[in-house]
Symmetry: C2
Subunit: 978 residues, 2 copies
């Protein structure tokens, strides 16, 4: 009984009959209908890494970089909440909270549970991190919400479940995020960054709050509110220990300032109240890493509340209460107002006319790609964990670790590339650890579900530079196990780094599979940090349902693979007129011999002049966040002088192009693959003393796109963009005509005219635009000379292996008739996002029947994506399926999951909200009225699930297991197993 104090707090806290007995909206303080109700919302914005690493922030380590210690924030907030039941606090980042929770005594946990059960501590947003909305893929957003909400549900039950989104810091807001919130049953979301002109217009029109049509395919609406002044404190009222605003001095002192402080606060509240439609206003009290000494904050807020409300007795019409975003939203909902409609999104974010936050769409390109690799192995590991029924504590821990770091990576200073270099390095380390754990899980599973019970199942994470010691050293006799995370059987070309030898590839059934040896580009070979000397890749086409094994062995015979040869090479000395044609049976490319550039593309029955090259923005004061041109003239697209060599194999055709000392590319065609692959390498980008360089890939066609182009939102729906235009306000682009037209491209950008359509698909998030009709550009890599003054205080000038960063990646071109469905682009997207994962083992020759089988999902309709299949609670599996075609591309589809249910040895299924934690039948969301959407009632209204939630047990008829998905619909099921 050492910690008497704490013990005593608990006992009495538990015994006491408290004023509040309920959580959620019932725990909200009463408001006054005849007054302006000020909802004071104490909160702390705790970045999951930014200037410091996640752990440095948690422990308060390296405070010389930034003073921030989350452990103390939660410690002291809890202590302060105990002191006064009127107080409220919202906890946002579940990654931090769960780490804190793990260090608490049972006694402390009981206290916190009581606070949660009484609505005094309210989880808000609740995801693992506060994710970025530009560079993230929806799959990872869903995952990180599921992870956070599951922790809260497991720990606190429904009282721990957030009902409001709180994306107060991300630098622009996607419609897809709003859609996901709605699908998780959230009542609304709040954020605080919006284009300054948009905000100005909305201030004038009382339109800071709105009803967002969050999908063009689904009928999803979400109440969305912009905070009046970002998310920091009311000016002059930061009571935090790290602030310097005046405290409330109510003692016997010359400095007593109660009157002036109350006057000032009410004046501010009056100003805010003018801009909102109801008699409720929300005033957040917090900021970055505030509340480390929560006593200071709450002591002063208590006084503020006391003295403001005391004025009511002398006629003041201001009522102030401790509140939360949820309680505020509840009050707003009760007020039954109507709100303007919103249909597009909030990109790009211009904080002033010279500051468009569009650089971060592309910053840290290799980190952005690495995150995608993380998701890739995570999905593989999840599915395999289910199939192999992995359930050791170590395996569960490793999977959870990977889930968690992927949650961290979605953070708005992680995948965005807006963190300090040291933090980026830490993310790399964490993610690398997590991925190794993921590959270990996969290995454990593959030993059960493949006929190779002792296989090594090595993963090579550097295949993009053709580096894999395992394949190089064991290609004499190698087993290649390919895992397909997608639902449907896929055919993909597999490339393995090997020595210059003769190899033969056979499939599971011993059949020889055509293969050939393809030279690696000279630019890869020249990479100094590459830890191999292989110069060739063995290429063969694999067909994989979920898992397939291929076997490679060294042979002497003629039938074996042979290196394909260069058929043409053009450099400065051999420059000539004319053109070079490279083609497969479906695609024909023409290269201009003189310039060395791609000139025309012919595919899908369409031919188009597409000149493809690289351009460079020479910028002065761009930064990790901002893409900012100093002079519009400082942009040059290379128009010639490209050296190239053409390699032609039977299955692969490659055009190796060298643009200059730091830009090169392989244009690649595979037989039977209806897309042109551009395998680019950029770096080290040269840097002048005063100017950085930002490199874009450019596709210039003659398609008459008339300023219109399409970009994806987080890899799901496409949004129509119109150059120089904004949905809700007049654009102000004279200072930054390019940066202000940049949008986040996380999977696809396209344009078209009445005849032709060109789509570019990418392999990671990038910024992109169409600055000229028919032209598409994507920013690939940035090397800068200045910090942009937004806090990171470091120049984005990545180095790796002792030299400026070299980035590699791929974009894909699809040219098609404008009349054709874009569904093929969708399929490419899925395959690029979740391609085959390759595992390598020595081929011992001995195989045995797998201990466990792996099901096929080929019976799912083509448009159905196996979005998630993962272990949930013990004895439970989460299944998430998506119709990934939108309303223009696909139709309603139905399919039956009884076979899967049986495979899983299912007992019952419950359908849940998107995150997996709330039974869908329990979902009840606030409904808000859009202006002009018809007569509104006088009573608050609610949404419940639009379809009947699936709730079935093993004893029911198979017909009851039918699942129907409208275009873009996602449904989530928890399968309880026997």
């Amino acid at each position: 009984m050492k910690y008497l104090g704490v013990l005593c707090v608990t006992l009495l806290a538990l015994q006491a009959k408290s004023a509040q007995a309920a959580c959620g909206y019932e725990s909200c303080h009463e408001t006054k209908s005849n007054m302006v109700n000020i909802h004071l919302v104490p909160h702390s914005h705790d970045d999951v890494g930014w200037l410091k690493t996640v752990d440095q922030y948690f422990y308060g380590h390296k405070n010389n970089i930034q003073h921030a210690g989350v452990q103390y924030i939660i410690d002291t907030v809890i202590a302060e909440l105990i002191k006064n039941p009127d107080r409220r606090f919202i906890q946002v980042e579940t990654s931090f909270f769960s780490k804190w929770w793990s260090e608490q005594s049972e006694t402390a946990k009981e206290i916190v549970k009581k606070l949660v059960n009484e609505g005094r501590l309210q989880f808000t947003n609740g995801a693992w991190s506060m994710n970025d909305e530009a560079a993230v893929n929806y799959q990872s957003v869903i995952d990180q919400f599921s992870l956070g909400l599951k922790f809260l549900d497991d720990t606190f039950g429904t009282c721990g479940r957030p009902t409001v989104g709180w994306q107060i810091d991300p630098f622009g807001h996607s419609r897809e995020q709003a859609s996901l919130y709605a699908q998780m049953g959230y009542d609304g979301e709040f954020f605080s960054r919006m284009d300054h002109n948009d905000k100005g217009r909305r201030m004038a029109d009382l339109a800071l709050e709105m009803v967002w049509d969050a999908s063009e395919s689904l009928d999803i609406k979400l109440f969305t509110g912009l905070l009046y002044t970002y998310y920091w404190d009311t000016p002059g009222f930061c009571f935090d220990v790290h602030c310097s605003d005046d405290p409330i001095i109510d003692g016997n002192s010359y400095d007593n300032n109660v009157k002036s402080r109350v006057d000032d606060f009410i004046a501010y509240a009056a100003q805010v109240a003018e801009k909102f439609r109801t008699n409720h206003i929300m005033i957040p009290m917090g900021g970055d890493f505030q509340y480390e000494d929560a006593e200071v904050n709450f002591k002063n807020m208590d006084k503020l509340v006391k003295y403001i409300n005391e004025r009511q007795s002398s006629g003041s019409k201001y009522n102030i209460i401790y509140s939360t975003p949820a309680c505020y939203l509840h009050s707003v909902h009760q007020s039954v107002q109507s709100y303007p409609n919103k249909t597009q999104d909030f990109f790009p974010y211009g904080s002033d006319s010279n500051s468009f936050w569009t650089g971060y769409f592309s910053s840290r390109p290799t980190q952005k790609r690495f995150e995608r690799d993380g998701n890739h192995i995570l999905q593989v590991a999840k599915e395999l964990s289910v199939f192999a029924d992995l359930n050791s504590e170590e395996q569960k821990e490793k999977l959870n670790y990977l889930r968690q770091i992927m949650g961290v990576m979605q953070h708005h200073d992680a995948i965005t590339g807006t963190e300090k270099q040291a933090v980026s390095n830490d993310y790399d380390r964490l993610l690398s650890d997590g991925m190794v754990g993921g590959t270990n899980i996969a290995r454990d599973a593959l030993r059960k579900v493949t006929p190779l019970p002792t296989g090594e199942f090595e993963s090579c994470l550097n295949l993009n530079i053709s580096e894999c010691a395992f394949t190089k050293d064991n290609a004499d006799n190698l087993a290649v196990t390919l895992y397909n995370p997608l639902a449907h059987t896929t055919k993909q070309y597999v490339r393995l780094p090997v020595k210059n030898e003769n190899y033969q590839v056979t499939d599971d059934k011993g059949r020889v599979v055509a293969s050939e040896l393809v030279p690696v580009s000279q630019q890869i070979i020249d990479l100094e940090f590459r830890e191999t000397d292989t110069q060739y890749e063995l290429v063969f086409k694999a067909t994989v349902d979920k898992i397939a094994n291929y076997y490679v062995k060294k042979v002497e015979s003629q039938s074996a693979a042979q290196p394909i040869k260069a058929v043409k090479s053009v450099s400065g000395e051999t420059r000539e007129d004319g053109e070079t044609v490279v083609q497969t049976s479906t695609i024909k490319l023409t290269i201009d011999n003189n310039s060395g550039l791609l000139k025309t593309v012919e595919m899908n029955g369409i031919s188009e002049n597409i000149e493809q090259s690289f351009g460079v923005y020479r910028t002065y004061d761009s930064g990790a966040y901002l893409f900012r041109q100093y002079n519009q003239g400082d942009f040059v697209i290379q128009d010639g002088g490209v050296e190239f060599t053409v390699y032609e194999g039977s299955q692969v055709k490659e055009i190796h192009q060298v643009f200059n000392e730091y830009v090169s590319q392989v244009i690649r065609l595979y037989e039977d693959r209806n897309t042109v692959e551009f395998d680019w390498q950029v770096g080290p980008i040269p840097r002048e003393e005063e100017f950085g360089n930002e490199v874009v890939i450019v596709f210039s066609s003659e398609i008459e796109s008339k300023g219109v182009f399409y970009t994806d939102a987080n890899g799901r729906e496409l949004l129509k963009r119109e150059k120089d235009k904004r949905e809700d306000f007049n654009s102000e682009l004279d200072r930054q005509p390019t940066a202000g037209n940049y949008y986040p491209i996380t999977s696809r950008i396209a344009l078209q005219d009445s005849k032709k359509r060109m789509a570019i698909l990418n392999d990671r998030a990038q910024g992109g635009s169409s600055m000229k009709d028919g032209q598409i550009e994507l920013m690939l890599h940035r090397r800068l000379v200045r910090d942009d003054g937004l806090g990171v205080d470091e120049v984005l000038n990545e180095e790796k292996y002792g030299q400026p960063l070299i980035a590699r990646g791929k974009v894909y071109l699809v040219l098609n008739s404008a009349e054709e469905s874009t569904s093929a682009e969708r399929e490419w997207e899925k395959e690029h996002h979740l391609p085959l994962w390759k595992f390598f083992s020595k081929n011992s020759g001995s195989t045995s029947s797998p201990a466990k089988s792996v099901p096929s999902f080929d019976d799912f309709p083509k448009s159905v994506h196996l979005l998630t299949l993962e272990p949930f609670n013990d004895g439970e599996v989460l299944l998430r399926v998506e119709n990934f075609m939108d309303h223009t591309e696909g139709n309603v589809v139905s399919f039956n999951i009884r076979p899967l249910f049986d495979y899983l040895n299912g007992e019952e299924i419950r359908e849940t909200t998107l995150d997996g934690n709330l039974p869908l039948s329990d979902m009840k969301r606030f409904k808000f009225h859009a202006e002009g959407s018809g007569v509104r009632g006088s009573e608050p209204e609610y949404y419940t699930s639009a379809h009947k939630p699936l709730e079935v047990t093993a004893s029911q008829d198979p017909a009851d297991f039918a699942v129907t998905l409208k275009p873009m619909q996602i449904r989530t099921f928890i399968v309880k197993t026997k």
Copy 2:
């Protein structure tokens, strides 16, 4: 029951059977005899004003100046102490604590009492502020300790009583302070600033701890320890919310640093342990305004303690405990070691060979004087409160307010003049308020104890510039009430600003008193901010036991006062050779007509060539703390060119001298007063862009002092100084030969040879020295151009009334035979410190018998000072008497206090420690052995009172009321009244 949490803490805390049941040394954690015991001492050093005002520090106001909020420090420390009974904290500044206490609920108070009763919160030092030791007078130090300790005693009883002095920040240490500690029953004191050479030598000799012989007259010894590294945290281990050192990270993290942190701490502890004699070391954990977020500090210290002690199981010999200075000292005392002896003091403080902290001895001369005025009215108000038996709440409150602000003024950044200008202004405001309260109290009392029941009893605080609207406007018919705070009847000249009219002065009995009208110096008249046009002062000699009234009226007759006339005037044009003699019946001065300077002084049968002038140090990087010469040549004493005018009256002779545009002086002699008064005025001091000027007054005699001079310690005992010498170490004065020879002069500096002695007495604290044989200098005023980089971050460049500060003051010269006793100097000191206070009323002509009488103290022996007479608890009076002669000047004296006891209507008397709060019979102090002081025992020893404490009741024989005082002895009694 709103604050459930707190309530619950209390109830259980009160009910719980705690491990500790006792306070004081019994509450100390156990140590291990076979290990190095590390006493970890959590503390916060909270300046009672410095960069911010007292209230700004308390409330955490103006944090942009300095982040500091004492209310939060105490709040959070208490919360943290509750959590873990092992934890300890010391509270030092009672001014802050009492303010905090006044805002607490009864519940909170109960909790704190429990913590105090268990020794978890220990008051240390406990005075109202942590007083300076150079510029303070002992009377005010005693007062501010009495005030602080009384608050603690009233609030917590004996468990609240500090036993250890904690003067960790003051810039040098006086022997008198040590003496006062011992007289208050303290067991020892700790501080952290010491001349760097002294410290270096002591480090080498294991002499950082010592036994200080704190008095030459009294047998008083005090254990004194220097902290190993100032009072700030162990390097690298500042866990405070405002620090950035690494926390202890013991979680599952890449950043886990338990091993390295423990290694580092133990390495540091080992280093400390080498320099101390016992197996105990004290490591303070704190610093300026730390613990605002005490959770951070204690959470990490808990871990430090845990992991350091965990090592013992693997052989570590380090044992760490939460401790306090008292517990550390207790362990040291138990160890029965012996320590080197110390007899002098720790002035000046040289932090390096170029940084002597001797500027602050003189910084802000008017503030230093104003503080003396505050003490003056405080003593007057205290005595009068007793005589008039004032006991309304308002009166008690006003008196307490004045006591408190005087406590604040003793702070080591208040009276030192080392605070920011805005803070100095706040001190002025507070002190002015307090003094107005004091004069109000005096007025209330005087209406009872004088025959003027309706008198105004106005005080004029600007008499030093001859400004008093009341006397000017009412001199036609004025009552002047003179209050003598001293014990014995005094004869002093009174000066009143009046118009140029004819006045007659009469005494209480209607007898005409000789008076004359004396012109005010032209420099006073020329002061632009002076709010009067009076040019004359009416001067008369008053004789006052405790109170006397004199009456002034305007008359036409010849017998009235007439302005005295100038008898000689020498200026540039009229310069002549020869000399001018000015003399009274006892003193003869000669002025050199050519230079205009004082040339010889003849008094007490001694004649000496004393040239008196002013000098200027032209300095570059002096600051508020440091007096630092850039070039030794930049010091010039003015040797001529002084204009002077001589005024001769029958009682007063004045030589008005003008040295230059900003230095002037009146040398003044009064009939029957055996001292030469130098009434100086300095300012506005000119300032060059790169150089400031520091003005000294210089007396150059031919006395062969051989480098020896004497300076007082806080107005009590004199210490012998030897130019360029130090008691315990080799001085290092080549860079700053003058600054390094400066000492604080709070009342007196003297030098002598075998025949003659010259003493200079001052009216406020100043720095002074004797840089040449026979020469004495005192620094009067400083105007600087740079900050000295020690934190205040402002140039000492005072302005007042829109121009650089003009300072005025007085020094007094006493020339005597070296064989004569210096007791006369003592008497002058007392009179200069507590002269007559003048109250003015309109003389209505109507008088009545006083309601209360005022006793006479003339029966006390001449050497007995009425040090304190003040209301204590209700129905109690504190009497403090002092034999103010030292062992060379006086003898043991006895006197009887029964008459006073009877006057007070006494019931009983108890004798207490110096501060008034601990019965002397209860005092039991640690006794430590000085090296070479004979055989030391093996058991810890203690001191108790050396004399039998006086404890008498009204029924006892008058003989029992005899009080004996050895030279320099002070005794304190609480008289309980009926």
